[in-house]
Protein backbone atom coordinates (compact mmCIF):
# COMPACT_ATOMS: atom_id res chain seq x y z
CA UNK A 1 0.00 0.00 0.00
CA UNK A 2 1.66 3.20 -1.18
CA UNK A 3 1.85 6.36 0.88
CA UNK A 4 4.02 9.40 1.13
CA UNK A 5 6.88 9.50 3.59
CA UNK A 6 5.37 10.53 6.88
CA UNK A 7 3.68 11.35 9.01
CA UNK A 8 6.11 9.42 11.18
CA UNK A 9 3.47 7.76 13.33
CA UNK A 10 3.71 4.81 15.71
CA UNK A 11 0.90 2.78 14.16
CA UNK A 12 1.43 3.96 10.64
CA UNK A 13 0.81 0.61 8.90
CA UNK A 14 -2.27 -0.33 10.92
CA UNK A 15 -3.88 3.08 10.47
CA UNK A 16 -3.37 3.11 6.71
CA UNK A 17 -4.89 -0.36 6.33
CA UNK A 18 -7.85 0.31 8.64
CA UNK A 19 -8.60 3.56 6.81
CA UNK A 20 -8.49 1.77 3.47
CA UNK A 21 -10.59 -1.18 4.68
CA UNK A 22 -13.32 0.47 6.74
CA UNK A 23 -12.78 4.17 6.27
CA UNK A 24 -12.00 5.27 9.82
CA UNK A 25 -9.07 7.40 10.95
CA UNK A 26 -6.73 6.34 13.78
CA UNK A 27 -8.17 2.82 13.82
CA UNK A 28 -5.24 1.60 15.90
CA UNK A 29 -6.65 3.61 18.83
CA UNK A 30 -10.39 3.58 18.19
CA UNK A 31 -10.89 -0.14 17.60
CA UNK A 32 -8.95 -1.38 20.67
CA UNK A 33 -10.81 1.25 22.76
CA UNK A 34 -14.12 -0.20 21.59
CA UNK A 35 -13.05 -3.78 22.31
CA UNK A 36 -11.79 -2.81 25.78
CA UNK A 37 -15.31 -1.71 26.67
CA UNK A 38 -16.62 -5.22 26.10
CA UNK A 39 -16.88 -7.56 29.09
CA UNK A 40 -13.44 -8.73 30.19
CA UNK A 41 -14.25 -12.42 29.97
CA UNK A 42 -15.07 -14.29 26.81
CA UNK A 43 -13.67 -14.32 23.30
CA UNK A 44 -14.54 -12.19 20.33
CA UNK A 45 -16.05 -14.18 17.48
CA UNK A 46 -15.10 -12.69 14.10
CA UNK A 47 -17.09 -13.68 11.01
CA UNK A 48 -15.35 -13.32 7.66
CA UNK A 49 -16.40 -14.21 4.12
CA UNK A 50 -14.84 -17.20 2.46
CA UNK A 51 -12.69 -16.31 -0.57
CA UNK A 52 -13.03 -12.59 0.11
CA UNK A 53 -9.52 -11.44 0.80
CA UNK A 54 -10.62 -8.00 2.04
CA UNK A 55 -13.00 -9.55 4.57
CA UNK A 56 -10.38 -12.10 5.69
CA UNK A 57 -7.70 -9.43 6.04
CA UNK A 58 -10.06 -7.24 8.05
CA UNK A 59 -10.88 -10.19 10.31
CA UNK A 60 -7.22 -10.85 10.93
CA UNK A 61 -6.62 -7.15 11.57
CA UNK A 62 -9.38 -7.21 14.19
CA UNK A 63 -7.70 -10.28 15.69
CA UNK A 64 -4.40 -8.39 15.75
CA UNK A 65 -5.89 -5.27 17.37
CA UNK A 66 -8.04 -7.02 19.97
CA UNK A 67 -5.05 -8.53 21.78
CA UNK A 68 -4.89 -9.83 24.51
CA UNK A 69 -8.50 -10.94 24.20
CA UNK A 70 -8.99 -14.45 22.78
CA UNK A 71 -10.48 -14.41 19.30
CA UNK A 72 -12.10 -16.97 17.06
CA UNK A 73 -12.18 -16.50 13.29
CA UNK A 74 -15.18 -18.09 11.60
CA UNK A 75 -15.14 -18.28 7.83
CA UNK A 76 -18.59 -18.31 6.26
CA UNK A 77 -19.50 -19.30 2.72
CA UNK A 78 -22.79 -17.41 2.48
CA UNK A 79 -23.65 -13.73 3.06
CA UNK A 80 -25.69 -14.67 6.15
CA UNK A 81 -24.47 -16.46 9.25
CA UNK A 82 -27.59 -18.11 10.70
CA UNK A 83 -26.08 -21.60 10.74
CA UNK A 84 -22.73 -20.51 12.20
CA UNK A 85 -24.42 -18.32 14.83
CA UNK A 86 -26.53 -21.25 15.98
CA UNK A 87 -23.31 -23.04 16.94
CA UNK A 88 -22.06 -20.14 19.10
CA UNK A 89 -22.71 -20.31 22.81
CA UNK A 90 -23.53 -16.65 23.21
CA UNK A 91 -23.42 -16.70 27.01
CA UNK A 92 -19.67 -17.26 26.97
CA UNK A 93 -18.81 -14.77 24.22
CA UNK A 94 -17.96 -11.08 24.69
CA UNK A 95 -19.01 -9.97 21.23
CA UNK A 96 -19.53 -10.76 17.59
CA UNK A 97 -17.76 -8.93 14.76
CA UNK A 98 -19.08 -9.17 11.20
CA UNK A 99 -16.53 -8.31 8.51
CA UNK A 100 -18.26 -7.83 5.15
CA UNK A 101 -20.87 -10.27 6.46
CA UNK A 102 -24.51 -9.34 7.16
CA UNK A 103 -25.60 -9.96 10.76
CA UNK A 104 -29.06 -11.56 11.05
CA UNK A 105 -31.89 -9.06 11.25
CA UNK A 106 -32.99 -10.31 14.70
CA UNK A 107 -29.58 -9.55 16.26
CA UNK A 108 -29.93 -6.34 18.28
CA UNK A 109 -27.53 -3.72 19.71
CA UNK A 110 -25.48 -3.46 16.55
CA UNK A 111 -22.56 -1.03 16.58
CA UNK A 112 -21.29 0.02 13.18
CA UNK A 113 -17.52 0.36 13.54
CA UNK A 114 -16.92 1.46 9.98
CA UNK A 115 -17.78 0.61 6.43
CA UNK A 116 -18.64 -3.11 6.21
CA UNK A 117 -17.89 -3.93 9.85
CA UNK A 118 -20.44 -4.41 12.62
CA UNK A 119 -19.89 -5.24 16.29
CA UNK A 120 -22.58 -6.87 18.40
CA UNK A 121 -21.75 -6.85 22.13
CA UNK A 122 -23.30 -9.87 23.79
CA UNK A 123 -23.26 -8.68 27.39
CA UNK A 124 -23.28 -5.40 29.26
CA UNK A 125 -20.36 -3.26 28.16
CA UNK A 126 -18.08 -1.57 30.64
CA UNK A 127 -18.58 2.21 31.07
Amino acid sequence: MENRIGPVEVNRSIDVYVRALIGIERGSEKLPDTFRRLPKAGPLIIFVRNENSQSEFLGMMIGYLSWPREVQLVTVATPTVEKELAEVNRDSVAGLVFCSVNPPAWLEKRVRLGSGIVLVPLAETAP
Binding site: M1, E2, N3, R4, I5, G6, V8, E9, V10, N11, R12, S13, I14, V16, Y17, P43, I46, F57, M60, M61, G63, Y64, W67, P68, E70, V71, Q72, L73
Partner: protein, 453 residues
Protein backbone atom coordinates in the same frame (compact mmCIF):
# COMPACT_ATOMS: atom_id res chain seq x y z
CA UNK B 1 14.21 10.26 22.13
CA UNK B 2 12.72 7.81 19.62
CA UNK B 3 15.52 8.47 17.14
CA UNK B 4 18.14 8.14 19.87
CA UNK B 5 16.60 4.82 20.88
CA UNK B 6 16.59 3.67 17.26
CA UNK B 7 20.27 4.58 16.89
CA UNK B 8 21.11 2.80 20.16
CA UNK B 9 19.31 -0.35 18.97
CA UNK B 10 21.17 -0.37 15.65
CA UNK B 11 24.45 0.44 17.40
CA UNK B 12 24.11 -2.47 19.83
CA UNK B 13 23.18 -4.89 17.03
CA UNK B 14 26.20 -3.77 15.02
CA UNK B 15 28.47 -3.90 18.07
CA UNK B 16 27.54 -7.51 18.80
CA UNK B 17 27.84 -8.56 15.16
CA UNK B 18 31.05 -6.61 14.54
CA UNK B 19 32.56 -8.18 17.64
CA UNK B 20 31.92 -11.65 16.24
CA UNK B 21 33.06 -10.64 12.74
CA UNK B 22 36.30 -9.16 14.12
CA UNK B 23 36.90 -12.34 16.13
CA UNK B 24 36.41 -14.41 12.97
CA UNK B 25 38.68 -12.39 10.70
CA UNK B 26 41.28 -10.99 13.16
CA UNK B 27 43.77 -13.80 12.53
CA UNK B 28 43.93 -12.94 8.83
CA UNK B 29 45.66 -9.70 9.85
CA UNK B 30 43.50 -7.74 7.42
CA UNK B 31 39.98 -6.63 8.28
CA UNK B 32 37.83 -5.51 5.38
CA UNK B 33 35.68 -2.79 6.95
CA UNK B 34 32.80 -3.24 4.52
CA UNK B 35 32.77 -7.02 4.94
CA UNK B 36 32.92 -6.78 8.75
CA UNK B 37 30.13 -4.19 8.86
CA UNK B 38 27.84 -6.21 6.57
CA UNK B 39 28.48 -9.40 8.51
CA UNK B 40 28.14 -7.34 11.69
CA UNK B 41 24.56 -6.46 10.76
CA UNK B 42 23.64 -10.03 9.76
CA UNK B 43 25.23 -11.73 12.75
CA UNK B 44 24.22 -8.93 15.12
CA UNK B 45 20.54 -9.26 14.25
CA UNK B 46 20.78 -13.02 14.67
CA UNK B 47 22.61 -12.79 17.98
CA UNK B 48 20.34 -10.12 19.48
CA UNK B 49 17.17 -11.98 18.50
CA UNK B 50 18.54 -15.26 19.86
CA UNK B 51 19.59 -13.58 23.10
CA UNK B 52 16.16 -12.00 23.51
CA UNK B 53 14.53 -15.39 23.01
CA UNK B 54 16.86 -17.32 25.34
CA UNK B 55 17.12 -14.66 28.07
CA UNK B 56 13.37 -14.04 27.80
CA UNK B 57 12.79 -17.45 29.32
CA UNK B 58 14.08 -16.24 32.68
CA UNK B 59 13.67 -12.45 32.73
CA UNK B 60 11.74 -9.64 31.07
CA UNK B 61 11.40 -5.87 30.90
CA UNK B 62 14.35 -3.66 31.75
CA UNK B 63 16.34 -6.62 33.08
CA UNK B 64 16.05 -8.39 29.72
CA UNK B 65 17.06 -5.28 27.80
CA UNK B 66 20.01 -4.67 30.13
CA UNK B 67 21.32 -8.23 29.94
CA UNK B 68 21.14 -8.31 26.14
CA UNK B 69 22.78 -4.87 25.89
CA UNK B 70 25.64 -5.97 28.16
CA UNK B 71 26.08 -9.14 26.08
CA UNK B 72 26.23 -7.07 22.87
CA UNK B 73 28.83 -4.71 24.32
CA UNK B 74 30.83 -7.66 25.70
CA UNK B 75 30.91 -9.30 22.25
CA UNK B 76 32.08 -6.00 20.76
CA UNK B 77 34.87 -5.73 23.33
CA UNK B 78 35.95 -9.35 22.78
CA UNK B 79 36.17 -8.73 19.03
CA UNK B 80 38.12 -5.50 19.48
CA UNK B 81 40.59 -7.19 21.84
CA UNK B 82 40.99 -10.07 19.38
CA UNK B 83 41.91 -7.52 16.73
CA UNK B 84 44.38 -5.80 19.04
CA UNK B 85 45.89 -9.13 20.11
CA UNK B 86 47.00 -10.01 16.59
CA UNK B 87 47.38 -6.35 15.51
CA UNK B 88 45.08 -6.80 12.55
CA UNK B 89 44.58 -3.63 10.51
CA UNK B 90 41.39 -2.28 9.03
CA UNK B 91 41.21 -1.94 5.26
CA UNK B 92 38.62 0.03 3.32
CA UNK B 93 38.71 -1.24 -0.26
CA UNK B 94 38.44 1.64 -2.71
CA UNK B 95 37.62 1.54 -6.44
CA UNK B 96 40.70 1.27 -8.65
CA UNK B 97 39.47 2.86 -11.89
CA UNK B 98 36.67 4.88 -13.44
CA UNK B 99 34.50 1.83 -14.14
CA UNK B 100 34.72 0.68 -10.53
CA UNK B 101 34.00 4.20 -9.28
CA UNK B 102 30.91 4.49 -11.46
CA UNK B 103 29.64 1.06 -10.42
CA UNK B 104 30.30 1.85 -6.74
CA UNK B 105 28.36 5.11 -7.00
CA UNK B 106 25.53 3.19 -8.70
CA UNK B 107 25.40 0.53 -5.97
CA UNK B 108 25.39 3.17 -3.21
CA UNK B 109 22.74 5.19 -5.07
CA UNK B 110 20.53 2.12 -5.34
CA UNK B 111 20.88 1.45 -1.62
CA UNK B 112 19.87 5.04 -0.87
CA UNK B 113 16.83 4.76 -3.15
CA UNK B 114 15.72 1.54 -1.47
CA UNK B 115 15.97 3.19 1.96
CA UNK B 116 13.72 5.96 0.66
CA UNK B 117 11.22 3.57 -0.95
CA UNK B 118 11.08 1.36 2.15
CA UNK B 119 10.23 4.29 4.41
CA UNK B 120 7.54 5.40 1.97
CA UNK B 121 5.74 2.06 2.12
CA UNK B 122 3.65 0.48 4.88
CA UNK B 123 4.38 -3.01 6.15
CA UNK B 124 2.74 -5.59 3.89
CA UNK B 125 0.09 -8.14 4.91
CA UNK B 126 2.53 -10.81 6.08
CA UNK B 127 4.99 -8.19 7.29
CA UNK B 128 2.34 -6.98 9.71
CA UNK B 129 0.28 -10.08 10.52
CA UNK B 130 2.99 -12.77 10.51
CA UNK B 131 6.10 -10.97 11.69
CA UNK B 132 5.56 -7.56 13.27
CA UNK B 133 2.66 -8.94 15.34
CA UNK B 134 5.12 -11.08 17.32
CA UNK B 135 7.38 -8.10 18.00
CA UNK B 136 4.41 -6.02 19.13
CA UNK B 137 2.91 -8.65 21.45
CA UNK B 138 6.33 -9.35 22.96
CA UNK B 139 6.93 -5.61 23.44
CA UNK B 140 3.59 -5.25 25.23
CA UNK B 141 4.64 -8.12 27.50
CA UNK B 142 8.07 -6.82 28.55
CA UNK B 143 10.00 -8.36 25.64
CA UNK B 144 8.64 -11.89 25.92
CA UNK B 145 5.96 -13.46 23.72
CA UNK B 146 3.14 -14.45 26.10
CA UNK B 147 2.31 -18.15 26.38
CA UNK B 148 -1.31 -17.27 25.55
CA UNK B 149 -0.23 -16.23 22.05
CA UNK B 150 1.03 -19.72 21.27
CA UNK B 151 -2.17 -21.28 22.58
CA UNK B 152 -4.47 -18.81 20.83
CA UNK B 153 -6.15 -20.81 18.08
CA UNK B 154 -7.81 -17.65 16.79
CA UNK B 155 -4.40 -16.16 15.99
CA UNK B 156 -3.13 -19.19 14.10
CA UNK B 157 -3.30 -16.94 11.00
CA UNK B 158 -0.14 -15.22 12.30
CA UNK B 159 1.81 -18.51 12.32
CA UNK B 160 3.06 -18.64 15.92
CA UNK B 161 5.35 -21.50 14.84
CA UNK B 162 7.47 -19.19 12.65
CA UNK B 163 10.94 -18.51 14.07
CA UNK B 164 11.76 -15.22 15.74
CA UNK B 165 14.90 -13.91 14.01
CA UNK B 166 13.29 -10.90 12.32
CA UNK B 167 10.40 -10.29 14.79
CA UNK B 168 12.86 -10.10 17.67
CA UNK B 169 15.17 -7.79 15.72
CA UNK B 170 12.09 -5.58 15.38
CA UNK B 171 11.40 -6.10 19.07
CA UNK B 172 14.91 -4.88 19.92
CA UNK B 173 14.17 -1.62 18.09
CA UNK B 174 10.82 -1.34 19.90
CA UNK B 175 12.45 -1.87 23.30
CA UNK B 176 14.97 0.87 22.66
CA UNK B 177 12.47 3.28 21.08
CA UNK B 178 10.07 2.69 23.96
CA UNK B 179 7.11 2.06 21.66
CA UNK B 180 6.16 -0.29 18.81
CA UNK B 181 6.95 2.25 16.12
CA UNK B 182 5.85 0.82 12.78
CA UNK B 183 7.43 3.61 10.76
CA UNK B 184 10.99 3.37 12.02
CA UNK B 185 11.02 -0.42 12.35
CA UNK B 186 10.99 -0.69 8.55
CA UNK B 187 14.57 0.56 8.51
CA UNK B 188 15.92 -2.92 9.20
CA UNK B 189 14.87 -4.19 5.77
CA UNK B 190 16.92 -1.79 3.61
CA UNK B 191 19.78 -2.46 6.04
CA UNK B 192 19.54 -6.14 5.11
CA UNK B 193 19.46 -5.13 1.45
CA UNK B 194 22.57 -2.95 1.89
CA UNK B 195 24.42 -5.78 3.63
CA UNK B 196 23.34 -8.21 0.91
CA UNK B 197 24.32 -5.97 -2.02
CA UNK B 198 27.75 -5.19 -0.58
CA UNK B 199 28.43 -8.83 0.38
CA UNK B 200 27.36 -9.89 -3.11
CA UNK B 201 29.88 -7.45 -4.58
CA UNK B 202 32.63 -8.62 -2.19
CA UNK B 203 32.04 -12.35 -2.53
CA UNK B 204 31.66 -12.24 -6.32
CA UNK B 205 34.84 -10.16 -6.58
CA UNK B 206 36.71 -12.48 -4.24
CA UNK B 207 35.63 -15.68 -5.98
CA UNK B 208 36.03 -14.34 -9.51
CA UNK B 209 39.19 -12.32 -8.87
CA UNK B 210 37.61 -9.31 -10.59
CA UNK B 211 36.23 -6.47 -8.52
CA UNK B 212 34.34 -4.84 -11.39
CA UNK B 213 32.35 -8.04 -11.90
CA UNK B 214 31.30 -8.00 -8.25
CA UNK B 215 30.25 -4.36 -8.47
CA UNK B 216 28.41 -4.96 -11.74
CA UNK B 217 26.47 -7.87 -10.28
CA UNK B 218 25.61 -5.90 -7.13
CA UNK B 219 24.42 -2.99 -9.24
CA UNK B 220 22.11 -5.30 -11.21
CA UNK B 221 20.53 -6.76 -8.06
CA UNK B 222 17.67 -4.23 -7.69
CA UNK B 223 16.70 -4.55 -11.34
CA UNK B 224 14.87 -7.76 -10.44
CA UNK B 225 11.43 -6.30 -9.64
CA UNK B 226 10.67 -8.82 -6.85
CA UNK B 227 13.36 -7.48 -4.57
CA UNK B 228 11.76 -4.08 -4.23
CA UNK B 229 8.11 -4.69 -5.03
CA UNK B 230 5.41 -6.95 -3.63
CA UNK B 231 5.20 -9.83 -3.04
CA UNK B 232 8.01 -10.33 -0.58
CA UNK B 233 10.27 -7.43 -1.46
CA UNK B 234 12.08 -5.38 1.14
CA UNK B 235 9.60 -2.52 1.11
CA UNK B 236 6.81 -4.64 2.63
CA UNK B 237 8.82 -5.94 5.59
CA UNK B 238 8.76 -9.65 4.79
CA UNK B 239 11.64 -11.90 5.81
CA UNK B 240 12.37 -13.28 2.36
CA UNK B 241 15.07 -10.75 1.46
CA UNK B 242 16.84 -11.10 4.84
CA UNK B 243 16.94 -14.91 4.53
CA UNK B 244 18.25 -14.60 0.97
CA UNK B 245 21.12 -12.48 2.27
CA UNK B 246 22.00 -15.04 4.96
CA UNK B 247 21.90 -17.77 2.29
CA UNK B 248 24.13 -15.77 -0.04
CA UNK B 249 26.65 -15.11 2.73
CA UNK B 250 26.73 -18.73 3.91
CA UNK B 251 27.11 -20.03 0.35
CA UNK B 252 29.77 -17.45 -0.50
CA UNK B 253 31.91 -18.32 2.53
CA UNK B 254 31.48 -22.04 1.86
CA UNK B 255 32.87 -21.48 -1.65
CA UNK B 256 35.67 -19.33 -0.22
CA UNK B 257 36.53 -22.14 2.19
CA UNK B 258 36.62 -24.56 -0.70
CA UNK B 259 39.07 -22.27 -2.50
CA UNK B 260 41.30 -21.17 0.38
CA UNK B 261 40.77 -23.67 3.23
CA UNK B 262 40.93 -20.70 5.62
CA UNK B 263 39.51 -21.11 9.12
CA UNK B 264 37.83 -17.69 8.93
CA UNK B 265 35.82 -18.77 5.87
CA UNK B 266 34.39 -21.91 7.44
CA UNK B 267 33.61 -20.05 10.70
CA UNK B 268 31.84 -17.29 8.75
CA UNK B 269 29.93 -20.01 6.88
CA UNK B 270 28.97 -21.67 10.16
CA UNK B 271 27.71 -18.39 11.62
CA UNK B 272 25.65 -17.36 8.58
CA UNK B 273 24.22 -20.84 7.93
CA UNK B 274 23.22 -21.27 11.58
CA UNK B 275 20.80 -18.35 11.38
CA UNK B 276 18.97 -19.61 8.28
CA UNK B 277 16.44 -21.70 10.28
CA UNK B 278 16.11 -18.80 12.74
CA UNK B 279 14.87 -16.39 10.05
CA UNK B 280 12.17 -18.50 8.41
CA UNK B 281 10.92 -22.08 8.64
CA UNK B 282 12.06 -22.71 5.07
CA UNK B 283 15.57 -21.84 6.26
CA UNK B 284 15.81 -25.45 7.42
CA UNK B 285 15.68 -26.52 3.76
CA UNK B 286 18.33 -23.96 2.80
CA UNK B 287 20.51 -25.09 5.69
CA UNK B 288 20.05 -28.71 4.59
CA UNK B 289 21.06 -27.85 1.01
CA UNK B 290 24.23 -26.12 2.23
CA UNK B 291 24.99 -29.03 4.56
CA UNK B 292 24.61 -31.46 1.66
CA UNK B 293 26.77 -29.43 -0.72
CA UNK B 294 29.36 -28.70 1.96
CA UNK B 295 29.58 -32.36 2.86
CA UNK B 296 30.14 -33.28 -0.80
CA UNK B 297 32.85 -30.67 -1.11
CA UNK B 298 34.53 -31.53 2.20
CA UNK B 299 34.55 -35.25 1.33
CA UNK B 300 36.31 -34.55 -1.96
CA UNK B 301 38.85 -32.29 -0.20
CA UNK B 302 39.28 -34.48 2.89
CA UNK B 303 38.02 -31.77 5.27
CA UNK B 304 35.01 -33.54 6.74
CA UNK B 305 35.91 -32.91 10.40
CA UNK B 306 35.87 -29.09 10.33
CA UNK B 307 32.78 -29.10 8.14
CA UNK B 308 30.78 -31.29 10.50
CA UNK B 309 31.71 -28.95 13.35
CA UNK B 310 30.57 -25.98 11.25
CA UNK B 311 27.02 -27.28 10.83
CA UNK B 312 26.59 -27.97 14.55
CA UNK B 313 25.36 -24.43 15.47
CA UNK B 314 22.62 -24.59 12.83
CA UNK B 315 21.56 -28.01 14.01
CA UNK B 316 21.43 -26.72 17.57
CA UNK B 317 19.12 -23.84 16.57
CA UNK B 318 16.85 -26.17 14.56
CA UNK B 319 16.52 -28.63 17.44
CA UNK B 320 16.20 -25.89 20.06
CA UNK B 321 13.34 -24.19 18.21
CA UNK B 322 11.57 -27.52 17.57
CA UNK B 323 11.82 -28.39 21.25
CA UNK B 324 10.52 -24.96 22.25
CA UNK B 325 7.53 -25.32 19.90
CA UNK B 326 6.75 -28.72 21.33
CA UNK B 327 6.70 -27.18 24.79
CA UNK B 328 4.60 -24.10 24.04
CA UNK B 329 2.57 -24.64 20.87
CA UNK B 330 -0.85 -26.07 21.53
CA UNK B 331 -2.36 -26.29 18.07
CA UNK B 332 -0.70 -27.91 15.03
CA UNK B 333 0.54 -26.14 11.93
CA UNK B 334 -1.83 -26.73 9.04
CA UNK B 335 -0.30 -25.53 5.75
CA UNK B 336 1.58 -28.80 5.10
CA UNK B 337 1.03 -32.42 6.12
CA UNK B 338 3.75 -34.43 7.73
CA UNK B 339 5.55 -35.96 4.72
CA UNK B 340 5.10 -39.72 4.38
CA UNK B 341 5.72 -42.11 1.50
CA UNK B 342 2.05 -43.01 1.25
CA UNK B 343 1.11 -39.32 0.99
CA UNK B 344 3.86 -38.84 -1.58
CA UNK B 345 2.46 -41.70 -3.65
CA UNK B 346 -1.06 -40.37 -3.29
CA UNK B 347 -0.15 -36.82 -4.33
CA UNK B 348 2.33 -37.73 -7.04
CA UNK B 349 -0.16 -36.60 -9.66
CA UNK B 350 0.34 -33.01 -8.48
CA UNK B 351 3.82 -32.91 -10.02
CA UNK B 352 2.63 -31.81 -13.47
CA UNK B 353 0.69 -28.85 -12.05
CA UNK B 354 3.56 -27.95 -9.73
CA UNK B 355 6.02 -27.98 -12.65
CA UNK B 356 3.83 -25.82 -14.83
CA UNK B 357 3.20 -23.26 -12.05
CA UNK B 358 6.94 -23.11 -11.34
CA UNK B 359 7.78 -22.55 -15.01
CA UNK B 360 5.09 -19.90 -15.30
CA UNK B 361 6.50 -18.09 -12.25
CA UNK B 362 10.10 -18.30 -13.47
CA UNK B 363 8.99 -16.75 -16.74
CA UNK B 364 6.91 -14.03 -15.08
CA UNK B 365 8.73 -10.92 -16.25
CA UNK B 366 6.67 -8.64 -13.99
CA UNK B 367 8.28 -10.35 -10.99
CA UNK B 368 11.66 -11.36 -12.37
CA UNK B 369 12.38 -9.55 -15.65
CA UNK B 370 14.90 -11.79 -17.48
CA UNK B 371 16.68 -12.86 -14.29
CA UNK B 372 15.87 -16.58 -14.44
CA UNK B 373 16.87 -16.72 -18.10
CA UNK B 374 20.29 -15.35 -17.10
CA UNK B 375 20.46 -17.86 -14.26
CA UNK B 376 19.64 -20.72 -16.63
CA UNK B 377 22.49 -19.71 -18.95
CA UNK B 378 24.83 -19.28 -15.98
CA UNK B 379 23.92 -22.71 -14.60
CA UNK B 380 24.73 -24.32 -17.97
CA UNK B 381 28.11 -22.53 -17.97
CA UNK B 382 28.82 -23.59 -14.39
CA UNK B 383 28.04 -27.25 -15.11
CA UNK B 384 30.10 -27.09 -18.28
CA UNK B 385 33.12 -25.86 -16.31
CA UNK B 386 33.35 -29.35 -14.70
CA UNK B 387 34.82 -27.72 -11.59
CA UNK B 388 33.43 -28.96 -8.32
CA UNK B 389 32.96 -25.50 -6.75
CA UNK B 390 31.08 -24.19 -9.76
CA UNK B 391 28.87 -27.27 -9.98
CA UNK B 392 28.10 -26.91 -6.27
CA UNK B 393 27.19 -23.26 -6.84
CA UNK B 394 24.80 -24.28 -9.63
CA UNK B 395 23.30 -26.91 -7.32
CA UNK B 396 22.94 -24.31 -4.56
CA UNK B 397 20.61 -22.43 -6.90
CA UNK B 398 18.76 -25.44 -8.32
CA UNK B 399 18.23 -27.61 -5.23
CA UNK B 400 16.27 -25.08 -3.15
CA UNK B 401 13.99 -24.42 -6.13
CA UNK B 402 13.41 -28.17 -6.50
CA UNK B 403 12.76 -28.67 -2.77
CA UNK B 404 10.52 -25.62 -2.55
CA UNK B 405 8.43 -26.94 -5.43
CA UNK B 406 8.19 -30.45 -4.04
CA UNK B 407 6.86 -29.30 -0.65
CA UNK B 408 3.55 -28.51 -2.37
CA UNK B 409 3.07 -32.25 -2.75
CA UNK B 410 2.24 -32.08 0.96
CA UNK B 411 0.15 -28.91 0.90
CA UNK B 412 -3.02 -29.16 2.99
CA UNK B 413 -4.74 -26.22 1.31
CA UNK B 414 -8.01 -27.10 -0.44
CA UNK B 415 -6.26 -25.96 -3.62
CA UNK B 416 -2.55 -26.75 -3.64
CA UNK B 417 -2.20 -24.78 -6.87
CA UNK B 418 -3.59 -21.67 -5.14
CA UNK B 419 -1.17 -22.32 -2.26
CA UNK B 420 1.77 -22.52 -4.62
CA UNK B 421 0.71 -19.56 -6.74
CA UNK B 422 0.37 -17.39 -3.65
CA UNK B 423 3.75 -18.24 -2.13
CA UNK B 424 6.26 -19.59 -4.63
CA UNK B 425 7.43 -16.17 -5.83
CA UNK B 426 8.50 -15.33 -2.28
CA UNK B 427 10.33 -18.63 -1.90
CA UNK B 428 12.22 -18.04 -5.15
CA UNK B 429 13.48 -14.77 -3.68
CA UNK B 430 15.53 -16.82 -1.21
CA UNK B 431 17.92 -17.96 -3.93
CA UNK B 432 17.91 -14.78 -5.99
CA UNK B 433 21.18 -13.26 -4.67
CA UNK B 434 22.79 -16.71 -4.93
CA UNK B 435 21.58 -16.72 -8.54
CA UNK B 436 23.39 -13.42 -9.12
CA UNK B 437 26.53 -14.93 -7.60
CA UNK B 438 26.20 -17.79 -10.11
CA UNK B 439 25.81 -15.31 -12.96
CA UNK B 440 28.87 -13.39 -11.77
CA UNK B 441 31.05 -16.46 -11.57
CA UNK B 442 29.80 -17.79 -14.91
CA UNK B 443 30.72 -14.44 -16.47
CA UNK B 444 34.32 -14.87 -15.43
CA UNK B 445 34.99 -18.38 -16.64
CA UNK B 446 38.40 -18.66 -18.31
CA UNK B 447 38.22 -19.17 -22.07
CA UNK B 448 39.84 -22.59 -21.99
CA UNK B 449 36.89 -23.87 -19.97
CA UNK B 450 34.30 -22.39 -22.30
CA UNK B 451 35.44 -24.56 -25.19
CA UNK B 452 33.74 -27.57 -23.57
CA UNK B 453 30.33 -26.00 -24.27
Amino acid sequence: MILLGLLAAIFTILTAGLGVALSIFARTGRLNLIECTCLGWLLGSGIVSLLLWVCGTFCSGLALQTIVTIACLALGIVGWRARQHVTARFVLPSPANVTEWLLTILVLGEIAILFFVSLKHTLGWDGLLNWEIKARYAFLNGGVIPQSYYSSGGRAFSHPEYPLGIPFTELWLYLWMGEPHQFWVKIIFPLFYAAGALLLALLTARLSGKRWVGLLIASLLPFVPSISASPGGIVVGYVDVPISVFYLAALGYLLCWSANNALCSIVAFAACAAFLPWIKSEGVLLWFVLALLGLTMSLSKHRVGPFLVSIAPGLLIILGWRLYLKLVLIFPHSDFSHPTFSLLRGNFGRLADIGSILLAELGETVHWSIFWLLVAVAVVYLFASRKLEKILLAMAVLLPIAFYSLIYLFSTWPSYTAHMTSSVSRLLLHVMPAGWLAIGLALTQPKDQNRHL
